[in-house]
Amino acid sequence: MDDDYYSIDAILAENQKIQCTFKVDIPDMGHLDGGKDRDIKKNSKIQLPLWIAYILIYSDFADFTIPTPFNARVRNALNAEAKSVRLSGLVGAGGLWPRRLDDAPAKEMSDILTKTFRSRLVEVIDQAQHFAALGPSGGGGQSGDMALTFREGLDGTERELFSLAQDSAKKTKQWYESTERGRR
C-alpha cells in the first residue's frame, strides 16, 4: 500500500511471530528465545517476529514452519466454503491478511488467499452497504444469524474494508437525501 510507511497495521503485521528452525549454530544470540541458553543450537525451534525472520530466511540461517492459519486443515476449509471460516479466530481480531509472501511455498498460498479474499469481499461490501442504509439506529436483530457470524469472523483487513464501504455508502446516501432549499 502507498501509505505503508505510516501504516500501524503493517507494523503490527510484521510483529506477528512465526516459528523458525535454525539450520546453523549461532553463538551469543540465545536471548531471542527468552534468554535461557547462551547460544542458539542447530535445529532448535524459536518463535520469531516476521521482521527478523525475513533476514534469517533469506540468508539461509533458518527455515520456517507454515503458521497455523495456513495449515492444511484451514486451507481445505477455505477451499470448500470461504465464507464460513472465521478468520478472526485464526489470526486474532487484530490480525491481518499476511502482507508479504515473497518467499516460501508462496504460489499455492497466494492462490488460496486471493480466492478466499475475493469470495468474501462481496459479502463484506454487501453487509457494509446494508448497514449504511439502516442508519445509526438500525442494525442487529433481524439481520439473521448467518450474517452475524460472518461479521464476527472478519479479520482486520476485512474490517477496514467494511468501514470504508460503510462510510462512503453513508455519505452518498446523506447527500442524496440532503436539500438546498431554504439554505440560501
Binding site: L101, F117, V122, K171, T179, E180
Partner: protein, 191 residues
C-alpha cells in the same frame, strides 16, 4: 496525514456537486443583467425573455430568488430516462448517461422541480436506474483483481462511492498475488 481517513483518498459528494455546478445550463431569465465577469468567466447578458446559458450554480442562485426559469437538459425527461432504465435492466453493460448526471439531476429536482415536467416520475426512474447500476458494480466487484478493473460508463458519483474500498481491495490483492521472481531478486539485493 492530518486529514481524516475518509477525505484522504476520495472527494466527498458535496464537492462533486460543486464541480458539476460549473457546467452550463439554459435558463429563461426574468431579470435583465449586463454581461458580468465572475471568477470562472463572464456570463450574460440576460435579456428576458431570451434564453441564456449560465453555470448551474448561478442558475440555482437565480432560481432560489425567483429570477429565472430553468430549461431542463434534454436527458432529464421521462421518455429518455425510461429508455435508459430499460437498457439498464436488459443489458449487462452500463448504459450511457452524462458523466455527472446524478449531481445535476439531484440539484435540479431539489431546487427547480417546478420547471421540470413530472418530477416525481423522474425521481423514481433515477432511483431505479441507480439501483440497477449498483447491482452491476457489485458484479464488477466479483471480477476484481489486483491490476485492473474495467467498468465503462460508470458515472462520477458511482465511481466516488465505490472508490475507497475498491482501491483498498485491489491493494490487498496486490499484496496477496505472488510477485514475479525478478521482483523477489531485487528485494533480496536490498537486504
Amino acid at each position: 496525514m492530518a486529514l481524516p481517513v475518509a477525505l484522504r483518498d476520495t472527494v466527498s459528494p458535496p464537492e462533486l456537486e460543486l464541480i458539476a455546478s460549473e457546467q452550463l445550463i439554459e435558463i429563461v431569465p426574468l431579470i435583465a443583467m449586463e454581461r458580468t465577469a465572475f471568477i470562472s468567466g463572464a456570463y450574460g447578458p440576460l435579456r428576458p425573455p431570451a434564453k441564456s446559458k449560465v453555470p448551474i450554480w448561478m442558475a440555482m442562485n437565480l432560481k432560489l430568488k425567483r429570477k429565472c426559469h430553468i430549461v431542463a437538459p434534454e436527458w432529464l425527461n421521462v421518455e429518455f430516462l425510461q429508455e435508459r432504465l430499460t437498457q439498464e435492466t436488459t443489458r449487462t453493460e452500463f448504459s450511457q448517461l452524462p458523466f455527472r448526471f446524478s449531481e445535476i439531476a439531484k440539484l435540479l429536482l431539489d431546487i427547480a422541480s417546478d420547471d421540470i415536467q413530472n418530477p416525481d416520475k423522474i425521481r423514481y426512474l433515477l432511483k431505479d436506474i441507480r439501483e440497477a447500476r449498483q447491482a452491476k458494480s457489485r458484479d464488477g466487484l466479483q471480477k476484481i483483481d489486483h491490476s485492473e478493473l474495467s467498468l465503462p460508463n460508470l458515472c462520477s458519483m458511482e465511481i466516488n462511492e465505490i472508490r475507497p474500498f475498491f482501491v483498498k481491495a485491489m491493494g490487498v490483492l496486490t499484496h496477496l498475488t505472488r510477485e514475479s521472481t525478478a521482483d523477489n531478486a531485487a528485494r533480496f539485493e536490498n537486504f
